[in-house]
């Protein structure tokens, strides 16, 4: 195994400082454009802008796109199923957080 050390690196907080174009989001989430367009039409992702060339996605689209891609690929779910799963996963996460602040683990 090779060892290679790199100097101090400053990153960018995606959720706060980054906006993606369609092409950038596809590259970052390793998803084909056609699929991302389907997800937008399905309401899974909600970019600003009227046409795909002008779409701008907020930084939190990265996490949603990555989860959507994994669910679609691994569980062979179609876009409406992915949309439903994402909504339910978010509800579950919110409920878990509420349990957590009540000290239930």
């Amino acid at each position: 195994m090779n060892q290679d050390t790199v100097a101090l690196i400053l990153g960018t907080v995606v959720e706060e400082q980054v906006e993606f174009t369609l092409v950038e989001l596809c590259q970052a989430s390793q998803t084909e454009q056609e699929l991302v367009v389907t997800w937008v039409l399905e309401g899974i992702l909600e970019p600003r802008g009227a046409t795909p060339e002008n779409w701008r996605f907020g930084g939190d689209a990265l996490r949603r796109a990555c989860v959507a891609r994994r669910l679609a690929r691994d569980l062979e779910i179609n876009p409406p199923g992915v949309a439903l799963a994402l909504d339910l996963l978010e509800d579950i996460a919110a409920l878990r957080a509420r349990l957590e602040h009540r000290g239930v683990r």
Partner: protein, 312 residues
């Protein structure tokens, strides 16, 4: 290398039909998918499932695998015979260096190099963006930090072999970062082909579990135990925060379950989160004679029925 019984992984018989294999995979995949499951070893289980299914769903690969495996058990040492795959053709396609690194040695030996060898590599292409998870301490989010992060990145060497390259990155953890957020490190992803630029590396932030503090977004929660007299009479108590202790004034007549909000003492940022002290009442044990006498004096002093509201 160790042998993996893919049929056992999916819980199907060697004679299972393609439909049975698909349905067994889907059922287990839903159960162990890391985005869905909270089972502790979900990620490892899911990788095994994915590898087993990648072989068994494809009739060509399944036939080749069946050639070698009928007598072997998972974990048994094994070397594929040199001509094990004579007469089989693989279309490849769904293999690349990124996913291949997650497969077992067995899978690599049987299906890895061949599929990659056939892959067409364009002369100029941007590198892939990579993703990794990083665990930091809650304190790092409060103060900012510098952390060494070790990553293993799959790369293809000149002979076309897949090797894992160990890299250590010194990364600045910005103050105010929260669990679930991503840090983008430009140009630290996969190398580009030819003159193509390198991809980016995305680090998903998670917090190490803390014995005292719980975190929800920007807000931080702590259970703060009080003696009954502190809750009843009010008190000034010392309370830990992720970055040192503070003095907290407990108002008189505080009830168990009440939350005291310390505005702006959560994870910093515009706006900062809040720190919540959730009050618990701890009862001192009545072990000594003096302690028992004190409880008896309380019983006499109060006309108190905690079950008054239970009367029908």
């Amino acid at each position: 290398m160790k042998f993996h019984d893919y049929y056992e992984t999916l819980g199907v018989a060697r004679t299972a039909s393609q439909d049975e294999i698909k349905s067994a995979y889907r059922k287990l995949a839903r159960k162990f998918h890391p985005d869905v499951s909270k089972v502790a070893d979900a990620e490892a289980r899911f990788k095994e499932l994915g590898e087993a299914y990648a072989v068994l769903k494809d009739p060509e690969k399944r036939a080749a695998y069946d050639q070698i495996g009928s007598e072997l058990k998972t974990g048994q040492e094994f070397q594929p015979p040199p001509d094990w795959d004579a007469g089989f053709e693989f279309s490849g396609g769904d293999f690349d260096a990124h996913t291949a690194a997650e497969h077992s040695d067995l899978f690599e030996a049987l299906f890895g190099a061949r599929a990659r060898g056939a892959a067409h590599r364009p002369r100029q292409q941007a590198g892939r963006d990579h993703h990794a998870k990083v665990l930091i301490d809650l304190k790092d989010a409060y103060q900012g930090a510098q952390r060494s992060i070790s990553l293993r990145m799959p790369i293809t060497d000149e002979q076309g072999h897949l090797v894992l390259q160990q890299r250590t990155l010194e990364v600045v953890i910005p103050k105010g970062i929260r669990a679930g957020q991503h840090l983008r490190l430009a140009g630290q992803g996969g190398p580009g082909a030819g003159a193509g630029p390198a991809g980016d590396l995305y680090l998903e932030i998670e917090f190490n579990p803390h014995p005292l503090f719980r975190v929800d977004g920007r807000d931080v929660f702590l259970d703060l135990p009080l003696a009954p007299w502190e809750a009843a009479l009010g008190a000034s108590v010392t309370m830990p925060t992720p970055v040192g202790s503070i003095q907290l004034t407990i108002p008189s007549g505080s009830a168990a379950g009440r939350q005291l909000r310390l505005k702006g003492r959560g994870i910093p940022g515009p706006p900062p989160g809040d720190l919540y002290a959730q009050l618990k009442i701890a009862l001192p044990p009545a072990e000594s004679e003096a302690a028992r006498a004190a409880y008896q004096a309380m019983a006499l002093a109060f006309d108190f029925n905690p079950r008054a509201h239970l009367k029908g």
